[in-house]
Symmetry: C2
Subunit: 209 residues, 2 copies
């Protein structure tokens, strides 16, 4: 039961952070929306930052799961674009506490509880391996310099597309927004794709539309 | 004299916004650093937001000047990369009030004084023209779809590289940071460059290093 309340708090908080913004939402508002007492809420989370860290943990875990799943199957461009779509979906879900979000970044800056830099380094290493594997699998044809470029590109792009999407509120339709940004990454990948790799990209799009 | 004080306030405010952050710095601190009275400061700017808008105006004007200068000369890839370097330099200078900065974005969200969306649209249109010109000049070889991709890429990249650089504080050396991000864009451009265009890119780097 306590576990259920804790999860309800996290879900409601994320909803409010997504809709209203992390800075603007207070713990009292979260409690009021859930029709629980502030005391009950503080039994689970003594301050708003604790909610933030719990959500960041969920976000990070869900992301890690996606990477792990990717590495179980043989690499190809379609699989890669599927991974990207899933990561984007996860970022969208957690956009209110997304770490590329500078509000959130400012909150965690002075804390030791969430090591953003090492997570970012881990993700960059994953992408390096992903592109190396795609090269070995004959999906893309790249030099070491190309891989550095692609990793730099995807880490910046993958971190800030959600900021751009939010900034201009381009489309309220989640699926459409994600499709737009995945198609930009797909185009980038296609610049390095072999014939086999191009077919795999086409395959991804024929299945996703 | 009043004009001089106004300019001194803007310079000091930008310095503090860059170093400490827009949210954290108050008008009292700006006045104290300048060794003027809060009353004297408020004679020029009645609130912090007024300073923000004055700085955004300067930033936007300096940027517009760079685009205008670019369009005076015949287009080539080296000129284009020179433009990018100058824009990045300008963004770096104004990073504390940079509009891709979500703190600043939140501040101007409800104001009619700075129309970010229309400036962004204007910049995107400029980049479309730049790539069309480079194509006509035989510097790059692109389809209409490639141009859309390059415009989408450069607007996201050009908006958020400074956020990424600040987030990780990658290097305290401005020239090195800018060089890193210009080289990523240069690489992107090279994927579409003709032989003539590739020479022009090489030309840019031989002159800049």
């Amino acid at each position: 039961m306590a576990q259920k309340t804790r999860e309800r708090i996290l879900q409601k908080a994320l909803l409010l952070f997504n809709e209203v913004g992390f800075i603007e939402v207070g713990v009292r508002e979260i409690a009021r929306e859930l029709e629980i007492s502030p005391g009950n809420l503080s039994y689970h989370f003594s301050k708003k930052e604790d909610i933030l860290f719990a959500l960041l943990k969920q976000f990070s875990e869900q992301n890690s799961k996606l990477y792990n799943e990717y590495f179980l199957a043989p690499p190809n461009n379609a699989q890669f674009l599927t991974l990207i779509s899933r990561i984007f979906d996860c970022q969208y879900k957690f956009r209110g506490v997304y770490i590329g979000n500078q509000f959130v970044q400012a909150e965690i800056k002075n804390e030791d509880r969430f090591d953003y830099a090492s997570i970012a380094a881990k993700r960059a290493a994953s992408f390096k391996k992903i592109f190396e594997d795609l090269h070995l699998a004959g999906q893309i044809s790249v030099t070491a310099e190309d891989i550095s470029f692609l990793v730099a590109h995807i880490t910046l792009f993958g971190r800030f597309w959600i900021s751009e999407a939010t900034l201009f509120n381009k489309s309220p339709d989640k699926a459409q927004v994600i499709k737009h940004y995945v198609s930009l990454l797909s185009k980038q990948l296609s610049l390095f794709a072999t014939e086999k790799g191009t077919n795999s990209i086409d395959d991804f799009w024929s299945k996703s539309s």
